[in-house]
């Protein structure tokens, strides 16, 4: 049985108030919603489902689990980081992931999470890249959050950050956002059960979102980094 202090620690690190820097990224939601004339009608549920099932479950979740299992072996984490870099084809998503990871590392260094300072140093020295999924996986392991808990935290944060972005962009109201979140949680629970092998590759199939992000680079004002 998970101890009560571990459950509370999970709440703390899954909380949107935790300064992780994730609020700056919409994973293409802003880009898609602003280019409906070219990409077709934007539907928040379809977008959310595609992001969770066809990206998070087969890519981000894999990186988190593999990082978690490396048990703070920093050199092995740097190798995994390089694999995440090679596997993230969209440049804005790749750059965003590194920025987000560095933000998270900085916060954890300041609150004294084990290994955060050492790995941040490696990123600064160019010995590691600091992708957010790798950083989450190993830091949450260092905080003694179980692998399953780490996966569910990541899934929840991915979904919640998208619905929050939708609210900030005025696409849905706060109550509707919670309805979408309620609907996606069972999907996260289901896809997070799929087993992950030792060197499982990262895979993603979100071509419409990636094209939206690419086209977004040419547009003017925007709220989110990607």
């Amino acid at each position: 049985m998970i101890s009560r202090d571990k459950i509370l620690r999970t709440f703390q690190h899954a909380d949107s108030q935790f300064p992780s820097g994730a609020f700056a990224f919409s994973q293409g939601l802003e880009a898609f919603s602003q280019q409906q004339d070219r990409l077709g009608k934007f539907d928040l549920w379809n977008f959310l489902y595609a992001q969770i099932v066809h990206r998070w479950a087969s890519s981000e979740r894999i990186a988190i689990i593999r990082a978690h299992r490396l048990n703070s072996d920093l050199d092995a984490l740097a190798d995994l980081d390089a694999e995440v870099e090679a596997s993230t084809i969209s440049e804005p998503l790749r750059v965003g992931s590194r920025r987000n990871g560095m933000g998270l590392l900085t916060t954890h260094e300041r609150i004294g999470t084990p290994y955060a300072k050492a790995y941040r140093g490696m990123v600064r020295d160019g010995k590691a890249l600091g992708h957010v999924a790798v950083v989450q996986g190993f830091l949450w392991n260092a905080l003694e959050i179980e692998e399953d808990g780490a996966v569910l935290m990541s899934g929840y944060q991915s979904a919640a950050s998208l619905t929050t972005a939708a609210v900030r962009l005025g696409l849905v109201g706060a109550i509707d956002a919670q309805a979408y979140l309620t609907k996606i949680l069972p999907v996260i629970a289901q896809v997070s059960c799929s087993p992950v092998s030792e060197n499982e590759p990262l895979r993603a199939f979100i071509p419409l979102s990636e094209i939206a992000i690419s086209l977004h680079g040419a547009t003017g004002q925007r709220l989110f980094s990607n």
Partner: protein, 291 residues
């Protein structure tokens, strides 16, 4: 499951190792004067090869190969292997004459594994026509590339589904894994995806209202690859399609993703991209390939 001509079915046929070894398309190119020639070839059923063509008199180094199939597509349990070696200063365009059909696999997936080795100052355009995934098709393609930094490689894949039975059945699964390394073995790019037919055809499909997906990687020497503006101009010309362009990790080149609503649009964009890549690498526009 094995389905016979009279509609009866039986247990799956065991895949023999012997058959695996035979289904290959193995080509090795070398430079001879100002031309690229086939140094070695081993092509076995279901693959078929006539001979290399020189379709561009003003680019004599560029050989064109039509990879053909004498079987009518990809079938259950097919284990196809391709090996392509481009020697120093060689250039080739390998394509197919028409779309490749992937038939119902009845639970016995088919696979194609391709290995490409490209030595210095070489050029390869591996741009087959689209895969058409029939109901029940289950297909995995893997592509392992070793690329010298001075060379240029364009690889493309396109796929769509077609329910010819109109029974509202779709393909089972399509998986694609591409790994690009430099000659020292350093990982540059690893792109993979897997999509089930039911997700491809659902309301929540990650391709929106489009029907054909294309992925292109333009890899290698950035100075010999088309400028981003050239690709954006090609994208802007296309109607009924959207095109996304991104710099690949590790300065490996460019990723181009295309979603289109018709095969004709996909072919036009593919041809235009190939033409731009050849023009950028050789300074001359290639002839249009007749298919």
């Amino acid at each position: 499951m094995n389905v016979y001509w009279n509609g009866k079915s039986g247990p799956p046929v065991e895949q023999s190792v012997e058959r695996d070894r035979r289904a290959c398309f193995d080509l090795s190119f070398c430079r001879h004067g100002d031309r690229t020639i086939l140094e070695r070839q081993y092509v076995a059923y279901p693959f078929h090869l006539t001979r290399p063509f020189t379709l561009d008199p003003h680019i004599p180094a560029l050989a064109t190969i039509y990879q053909q199939s004498s079987s009518g597509g990809v079938y259950r349990s097919d284990q196809l292997t391709c090996q392509i070696k481009m020697g120093a200063r060689t250039a080739a365009h390998i394509t197919t004459q028409a779309a490749t059909l992937v038939h119902d696999c009845y639970g016995q997936p088919a696979k194609q594994s391709t290995q490409i080795v490209i030595e210095e100052d070489a050029f390869l355009g591996l741009v087959p026509e689209a895969l058409v995934l029939f109901p029940g098709a289950e297909y995995t393609t893997t592509l392992d590339i070793t690329l010298h930094a001075t060379s240029v490689l364009m690889v493309g894949e396109s796929f769509t589904e077609h329910d010819f039975t109109t029974n509202l059945r779709t393909f089972e699964k399509y998986r694609s894994d591409t790994v690009v390394r430099d000659p020292t073995g350093r990982l540059l790019v690893r792109e993979g995806f897997e999509i089930r037919g039911e997700d491809f055809a659902s309301a929540t499909t990650p391709i929106g209202h489009f029907t054909i997906v294309s992925n292109f990687l333009l890899l290698g020497n950035r100075a010999r690859l088309p400028a981003n503006d050239t690709i954006k101009n090609i994208a802007a010309r296309g109607t009924d399609c959207v095109v996304g362009l991104s710099e690949l990790p590790n300065h490996a080149g460019l990723s181009i993703k295309v979603l289109a609503s018709s095969a004709a649009v996909t072919r036009t964009v593919t041809d235009d991209l190939f033409s731009a890549v050849v023009q950028s690498a050789f300074g001359k526009i290639p002839q249009k390939r007749r298919k």
